[in-house]
């Protein structure tokens, strides 16, 4: 299965954020999306998951994503959002269980035993099971991020889109997240459309974290893709400098953490 973007442009109100993007993501890939703030990374993830209007074409397994039923799309792609403010105070468990919505059936959409077990497994994987009865507003930023991550995992899709999944995590959880994602990427997920190899598309600002998980790197600048290829070939001092508009390699070299 493949996600294919052809001549995609998108934006908010009058401002265009993506310009004429062409991209193909094949199942089983681990893709790092990099670039400066406002370069269109989040918009790209949203367009690829069919969450906003766009010009051009986005297909998944040959089907136009904008014409797919959301329930079916949500069985293939899960997007972990950046955390926002919440007024309605669900418990951690309730929140993660909602990730199983696309699998519920029946008139009143009750969750099955399997849904509950999967939610539990996702909470355990993200280290939030011990807080399962806490309310969302009682959590720290990092805990909330892990809850959203657990909800995204609970969705049980082969395509996992992550928008800065480690931004609020402490160093230990970041390392654990990387290990977990790397292991997860080796597996397959069964969907109503057959078995699909697990695929990660993730936005990171921590290059080391990105490099440890993702074999492919896509760099964006001003709403266009400016580099795309194997991480080991794309992430070079010259490329980083042109993408981030400053001497990234020199900066990383000057950083002193332990000596």
């Amino acid at each position: 299965m493949e996600i294919l973007l052809k001549n995609v442009s998108a934006g908010y109100d009058s401002e265009k954020v993506l310009h004429d993007v062409n991209l193909s993501i094949r199942e089983g890939e681990t893709v790092f999306i990099g670039g400066r703030n406002g370069s269109g990374k989040t918009t790209l993830l949203r367009v690829m998951s069919g969450l906003m209007d766009f010009e051009g074409s986005v297909t998944i397994g040959g089907d136009e994503i904008s014409k797919m039923k959301r329930r079916n799309a949500a069985r293939l792609i899960a997007l972990m959002p950046q955390a926002g403010e919440m007024y309605f105070q669900y418990t951690v468990y309730q929140t993660v269980l909602l990730g199983r919505y696309a699998r519920t059936n029946g008139l009143f959409g009750n969750f099955s035993t399997e849904d509950k077990e999967e939610a539990k497994a996702a909470m355990e994987a993200c280290g939030v099971y011990e807080y399962k009865d806490r309310l969302l507003n009682e959590l720290s930023g990092g805990q909330l991020q892990r809850v959203l991550l657990a909800r995204t995992f609970a969705q049980g899709t082969p395509f996992l889109f992550l928008d800065e999944p480690g931004s609020s995590l402490d160093i230990k959880y970041r390392a654990e997240l990387c290990d977990y994602l790397a292991k997860w990427a080796e597996k397959k997920t069964s969907t109503p459309f057959g078995d699909v190899k697990n695929t990660i598309v993730a936005v990171f600002h921590d290059l080391a974290q990105a490099r440890s998980i993702c074999e492919r790197t896509v760099f964006m600048k001003n709403g266009r893709i400016v580099a795309d290829g194997k991480s080991s070939e794309v992430i070079t001092p010259e490329c980083l400098e042109s993408v981030y508009d400053f001497d990234v390699a020199g900066y990383i070299e000057r950083q002193v953490i332990i000596r």
Binding site: Y12, D13, R46, S49, G50, L51, M52, K69, R70, R71, A73, A74, R75, I77, A78, L79, P81, G84, M86, Y87, F88, Q89, Y90, T91, Q94, T95, L98, G99, Y101, A102, T104, L107, F108, G109, E130, Y131, K132, D133, R134, L135, E138, Q155
Partner: protein, 357 residues
Amino acid sequence: MDNQETPEIRKKTKYGQTAGIGIALSLAVCLLILLTAIRAGSVYISIPDLLKIIGSHITGKPLPQEVDPMNDSIFWSIRMPRAITAFLVGGALSVSGAVMQAVLQNPLASSYTLGVSSGASLGAAFVLLCGLSFAGMESFMLPLAGFVFGLLTVVAAILLASRIDRSVSNQTIVLIGVILSLFVTGIMNLLMTFYGDKSKQLWLWMTGSFSARNWTHCAVLFGAGIFGFVILMMFSGRLDILTFGELQASSMGVEVKKTKIIAMLVCSLLTGVSVAFSGVIGFIDLAAPHVVRKIFGPSHKIVIPMSFIYGGAFMALCDLASRTLLSPREIPVGAVTALVGAPFFAYVFFAKGRRKA
């Protein structure tokens, strides 16, 4: 240390097993309030007599000798339909408030604040003033007009909001709703000036009243209420997810636009029918869902039925106060809901900040 707490203890916290007790207790209190609302007043009746009256009407058997036929007409024809109408209106308004708050992810949303109530009241006023009616449709004209005008107000609010702010943010809709609501109130005031002879009737409409309601009102309300309730219960999972925002809801598999439109239609129906039979009664639809969420948590599978129970019970209580406090004079029930409810709501809302867990 989190680990010292055993899982058994944690199981019971936060909307867990205590929910069952809460529901049972709430139902009991609600029944008690309804019973009091029916019995209280200048004429006294014993509970066995009341049950005999109800029994004779349900079974169709003649009234037992020992029951005063006067009581039969007072309780069966006046007080019971009145109390039950109040209960159903309170319940329907609260359910629609709870759902609107979820759909717009805005704790301040309700039929009242969005202008649906005033829109519906304007529709009802037109029917009243023009004497508009079709043969055989008499009892449906007011609710129909209420529904149509309530819906028109929501559509107007959303259209206007989309002109101002293309992403139609939910804040804008609420703001426009408030503006529309004020505008419609202005029109109502104008109508009252032009139709001086009917101004008393119109004024009752704007402040709300349950006097002289009959079983037909109850039946229409009950039908609309059950219809709306079942549909919204089917939407409860979608509503839960929608509170996380439209983008997240869509990524989790919810058809956001369809869900929003259907939910708002059903809310307009519930509000329109309620307002047509009671006038504009604010506040309960805003407050009851908040109280319910504080007690039972935000899951709509429980918020929707409990909002119905709490909103209904609170409305029945307010109507009781409105007809008994200054008896024989009647206080507009809308005034009672605001007078009793506002401080209570303020307490509930601000107490939340002080309590940590």
